[in-house]
Point group: C2
């Protein structure tokens, strides 16, 4: 389904802990990194800097198809993040979600997909607040319900999803990026189609709107704008930056999860419960440039 060039980089547990409580792994538990398929890699140039998004056609094929087309049509260039609520979402696009006219077709709901035994599922947690089970599939945090046989992308920080109106099939162009504590109540209700793998610190600099007006701006000139969007596969191979993300199928990733679930360091005077929030696993990628 995707090009899976593998590369081994040393696992530096950058985001793992405060001060002394870092974890080290044995060599055979080394974290592997997966190269992101250039067809699923989007560079978003904001006035604040570059953001890199990985698309997920496995969970949202129709949304990804439309988004790729909009990117290639330069649809988003010059548009603003027009609804930005600190701790929640930064929403950008042409404002068709606000009821403005748009010639862009609507997208069918793809809120979840059918479970299949051959999905490369890495379990994280049972008894999560919002899902019977959580885990990862090819780098994306997922929720899973074995009873209903469905699986879905969870609303973790950095997730990219289509906004919509009340109707399930009313997504079109406007998208949001989660910038705060995971709003998991939106799971299974939105077309989640990607995640930020680099530049979340840039996303966090997107100007916030008026908290008293649902994050909208009274002054349009105060918004952060999208300068360019480009699909990596539309850039020549020599000029194209490559993106690597933690390979959630590797032994090293399993060891990382276990180290976060079961914290045995002397730093912890109160040993935390042996649980793990799927949205609190550091998943930042690495770019070659």
């Amino acid at each position: 389904m995707s090009t899976r060039g593998m590369v081994i980089l040393r696992c530096v547990c950058a985001a793992a802990m405060l001060a002394l409580a870092t974890t080290t792994f044995a060599a055979d538990d080394e974290l592997l990194w997966r190269q992101v398929d250039p067809d699923n890699l989007v560079f978003v140039e904001l006035t604040e800097g570059r953001v890199v998004v990985e698309l997920n056609p496995m969970f949202a094929p129709a949304t990804v198809k439309q988004f790729r087309k909009l990117v290639r049509d330069k649809f988003y260039e010059g548009l603003a993040f027009y609804r930005v609520i600190d701790g929640f979402v930064a929403q950008g696009g042409d404002g068709s979600d606000l009821g403005q006219m748009s010639a862009v077709p609507l997208i069918d709901a793809e809120f979840e997909r059918e479970w299949s035994e051959d999905l490369p599922y890495v379990p994280v947690q049972e008894n999560d607040l919002f899902a019977p089970e959580t885990g990862f599939i090819e780098g994306f945090a997922v929720g899973r319900d074995p009873k209903s046989g469905s699986v879905w992308l969870t609303h973790c920080p950095g997730v990219v999803a289509m906004a919509r109106n009340e109707a399930a099939d009313s997504s079109r162009t406007d998208f949001y990026i989660v910038i705060g504590q995971a709003p998991r109540y939106l799971d299974r209700n939105m077309n989640v189609f990607g995640r930020v793998i680099d530049g979340m610190e840039v996303v966090q600099r997107i100007a916030r709107g008026d908290a008293g007006n649902n994050g909208l701006f009274s002054d349009e000139t105060a918004t952060t704008r999208i300068r360019h969007m480009m699909l990596a596969s539309d850039i020549s191979e020599e000029e194209r930056p490559a993106a690597y993300v933690p390979d959630t199928d590797s032994k090293g990733f399993a060891a990382l999860l276990e180290g976060r679930r079961n914290r045995t360091q002397a730093f912890f005077h109160h040993k935390p419960p042996e649980v793990l929030d799927v949205c609190q696993v550091p998943m930042a990628g690495r770019m070659t440039k």
Copy 2:
């Protein structure tokens, strides 16, 4: 224990929902706002803007006492956020946490406190991943263990806590602000002593350090600096901005929690589980200037 000037402001559910799915409350469920005691109110002027912190002497009396003294001594002025990890924490201070010499006394551990029936506890959730129960006490998110009889401030985004080395009693001056998905595994392990009530969008602009080096900076000039810190009670009454935070003891707050726990709007084609993450409740305050 604290000055509790009450004021009624209209509840605008700014951070509550996407698009159409806002909640409205009946008039008698109106959210009340509590004025923050000026002795517990700190203005932190960064190179990026103003951040407002509410201190919590109820849970961390020794830490608050030392922090107030350091603020009054202008200890933090000019110091940097020297360890900043996107999605985790921004840590600032004199670097004594890194082993540098410091004449400032150490602070005893105050990771949790004894439960008491007269605490103004507002329950949110049982069966949270990291605590038998969660709730709020005077605006602060807490975890609670009825069996051990203890209660503690939880690591939600915006929480302010003292860094430390391995020993429990090794906090001193360096503090961190949580800037990402709640690192709840740190609960009951750190001196949490405050929360950001205004300016989280400023906190999110703090420059990130080197992800490959545990968030430290290779170039010190790239750090965000603390320009001033000032206790509100040290500012004359006429010049002092007042801060209001959602009054978690009000009926309106209970209604807000219920609206977030039980989402009945037509927007939700899949009704979310009737649960509520205590760290996903919008708690931003309001300033008079």
